[in-house]
Symmetry: C2
Subunit: 641 residues, 2 copies
Amino acid sequence: MLAAVLTVYVAPAAAGSGIPEVKAYLNGVDAPNIFSLRTLIVKVVGCIAAASSSLHVGKAGPLVHTGACIASILGQGGSRKYNMTCKWLRYFKNDRDRRDLVTCGSAAGIAAAFRAPVGGVLFALETVSSWWRSALLWRAFFTTAIVAVVLRALIDFCKSGKCGLFGTGGLIMFDVTADYVSYHLVDLPPVVTLGVFGGILGSLYNFLLDKVLRLYNFINEKGKTYKLLLAATVTVCTSCCLFGLPWIASCKPCPTDTQEACPSIGRSGNFKKFQCAMSEYNDLASLFFNTNDDTIRNLYSAGTDDEFQISSILVFFVASYFLGIFSYGLALPSGLFVPVILTGAAYGRLVGMLIGSESTLDHGLFAVLGSAALLGGSMRMTVSVCVIILELTNNLLMLPLVMLVLLISKVVADAFNANVYDLLVRLKGFPHLEGYAEPYMRQLSVSDVVTGPLLTFNGIEKVGHIVHVLKTTGHNGFPVVDEPPFSGSPTLYGLILRYHLLVLLRKKDFIRSCTASNLNASKHFSHDEFAKRGSGKHDCIEDIELCAEELEMFVDLHPFTNTSPYTVLETMSLAKALILFREVGLRHVLVLPKSSERAPVVGILTRHDFMPEHILGLHPSLFKSRWKKVRLGKLKVANIC
Amino acid sequence: MLAAVLTVYVAPAAAGSGIPEVKAYLNGVDAPNIFSLRTLIVKVVGCIAAASSSLHVGKAGPLVHTGACIASILGQGGSRKYNMTCKWLRYFKNDRDRRDLVTCGSAAGIAAAFRAPVGGVLFALETVSSWWRSALLWRAFFTTAIVAVVLRALIDFCKSGKCGLFGTGGLIMFDVTADYVSYHLVDLPPVVTLGVFGGILGSLYNFLLDKVLRLYNFINEKGKTYKLLLAATVTVCTSCCLFGLPWIASCKPCPTDTQEACPSIGRSGNFKKFQCAMSEYNDLASLFFNTNDDTIRNLYSAGTDDEFQISSILVFFVASYFLGIFSYGLALPSGLFVPVILTGAAYGRLVGMLIGSESTLDHGLFAVLGSAALLGGSMRMTVSVCVIILELTNNLLMLPLVMLVLLISKVVADAFNANVYDLLVRLKGFPHLEGYAEPYMRQLSVSDVVTGPLLTFNGIEKVGHIVHVLKTTGHNGFPVVDEPPFSGSPTLYGLILRYHLLVLLRKKDFIRSCTASNLNASKHFSHDEFAKRGSGKHDCIEDIELCAEELEMFVDLHPFTNTSPYTVLETMSLAKALILFREVGLRHVLVLPKSSERAPVVGILTRHDFMPEHILGLHPSLFKSRWKKVRLGKLKVANIC
């Protein structure tokens, strides 16, 4: 409830895992408040509260968001709102550095969550980021190296147990070194089976999650009370589940050859007593009544084939699968990673038990492979999950099997639906720009999707006109055109940003007549004024007050215009324009006319012009051909085979 | 000699490691014959011969080249020259798929060389490739997963020792699991020292390698006999070194508590007898008289602090350092990776011995860290080297230390010179396009670097003119402009490639008069004719014979023109044009005029226009400002501090 109240009343942006928001940000979509100080605090406190309430949520996603938040706040030089600013950090005030910092921050998040520094880098590379440079790779590596060194130092420091649960883990969370190293060609069929069903279960997970989130969105829209009620209901149900389900499991006698205390009473341990007699234990309670980490460790451990009953594992798997789906959409910080790993481990053990003596593999190995299969099926990551699992379990010898399972489950699941993060991004309505062009885009040219009247400014423009345009439109970029007498014929001079116009208007550095000024602009403005602002509240045109006289004056836009905008011809294929837009990472592309008789610029392309909804809205006939293309493509493939 | 003779007389492209060639290819530079079947065969045979001659060369680089070769030959559907073609593979006949295949092939090479599937993917990503897509990541992962599964199956199959040296290794080449896990904060200073000197030694390695290669190039240019003589000289010197140096080491008495035979006589083993008495061994001979793999394993092994004398390690380190530098430039397949790992291991042990009792770390751990330091200092890879070392040694617990050492050595070495592959690419004269713009490019606009008269074709062009232009220039792309009466004013129609023009001329599908034809082009041509050709011999204009009558006819270029070329305005900043060129992966960019009164296209930018040599040749004054900028930049940083 603490987590839900904080999230609902203080920082609604802290709900969920935060990975979709970070992914969208790195794609160029700046959702409000996702990186504010307030969100950061609520995320940290809420995540602790949610995880400790035994809700079936993870902490990896919130840690990624936390890392990204810290990076963004550092990048903007502190929080202006709370008067905590730091001057030397102002050199990061541009899009690219901010983006790099956030990428490194999210890498650090995964590195901290799983103590997997290399996995963190790869996660940021594979899942979160949309652009990647070689320099960024090694900056992210630097970040996670620091995380690793700090983690290792803290583990050293906490060895004596003075840091609660933290010190006991060691650098490898679920160490299975040198266990179950033996497998042969005959073990391939069960592993392939595991991968196939993992893929199916993973895509089903995404499908159900999508449906449940739509339902939750419907409820949450009704008001804050409904949000709290929903969170409370699910928490109570979860607790009932956790406490009620172990009653249906029968007690098992303690094994005689174990070194652990049995039954164990206290925090961790494989043998929970629950309702059983003194020399017995309840295996289902052992799974439910542990922290997620301990449960995963128990499931992964080797030589424990007889410790669990098949019915208990089945109940745990089903409960974990659905609790994970129902817990994610609540209005509190919650991750998906750990629930999926946990569910996957149970799934793997279940498959191992069902296959029984057909395979010589240890059930612990099946659990690890099951986690890989479900992660591959739901998140569709390959290299990063592989390395994360490697760093979690510290057993390289099973690498070939993990890779195989991941590939199979990913391929199977890709046949059904998209990965869970793409799904969440779409559900949140972010205009995420994909890196590839849809087939129907090849049939269109740029001029087919440019809509609306184009608003341009003259090189020396009347203040009143600028104010009017800024007040009546929401555009963020305007072409600047030089008309006679300043040039022979109308000529494109460049592109000016809304934000820079606001700075000009606020400064009131106007001229009286429509003639070229020889003002040295750099004298009046410092480059800091045009630097990228933080994620806080932005200036808006309504805040700037100008008198009637000022409105009649002029302003020289030339010194403040970007004279090198990227351009395309109006006959350019839309698919190729998308590649330019996406690969170079643009916000505006100017559209030039084919024939020289027309205006020097005929349109402006933004992210929204590339959205399928926009294009298919303008050209509904393509919607049919879109599917025809797909079908034709499949037919072609069939012919080749 | 076999390797050198094969390389010199059969396939000169097989010399060296091949990684620079693959890197240049993936950047868009197509060097002749690098992926031919002949090169592949010579590479494989030559690599075996060179490695078994006890020359100080590695096999990882040649394996990368081998993987890339196989990928490229598969991609072009076999070898036309040797009549081994396969029809269904023709779907890969385009730039992008070919590039993806070669990337996957080079990932497979590293995966096979070090049995490091994840390391292979990361190596391809970090070092070899210039562009990267999410889809490519998982295709490369798929490739290396297959490599891992096949390797694992072969190891299983070869367990009984029927495959020579291969079966004995196991999946982890230098397994050090669970050895030397203990380190604390006090061990940081020695590790940092190791990293700093590793960086210095690594950059010195690159510097010396550069000088030696320039000398070798000078000798090699004199003729084939000189090449063979050079290779023979270095081989004889190496053998003398290997056999002569152990004489200077004193004999050590065999340890009493070892499980191994001592002295060992035979293939592997830590205790070589050499010239010593029966119960003694020569530690330097143990290092020199083993395969590289065994030597590395010996140096990495824990609990062997007393096995080696400091003088032996020092001699071995110096010998290995310089033999590595002198062996690389010979005319035979040779890698850099393994020599650097080996030298680094000796360097690490040496540092460990020099530090002595100041540090509690095992000398085996120092050897591993030394390898990381020298790799970081010479190759400047971070994530991939980290993962490769992890996969070689299977010890996750030292990950924080490895990361730290890599970072320090990379940062230190970056202060001195570029990484070894960039250096080799530059030495070979490939026009490699960097991903970032040099500062002086920001001062130039596109029109400043466009040179030479622009050659354009009309939409319907006279055959004779095309033939003349193709014969007199080497350009690969020509703008197509529609003039009146086909359009109101001269209008840019698109870009046509030299290769497509050659296909048109060969087909002789001409028209008699200069009027628009209503021929349906697709009837006369199959798309296969315009597909990207393999790396074999290309058509050239001299091979096409046309009679005088045909030269007077016309050809309609419209159906064969790319109507969506990427364009920039002539006032565009050169730095931004470079980003477009590089990020989108282009070969030609058309330059449009700013004012509409001029011709519809004023120039064409290619890779060569972005080369620093070209730009600084045109604008020598920038050469000064280039350095001024750097100095100013440093000054600015100093001011801030």
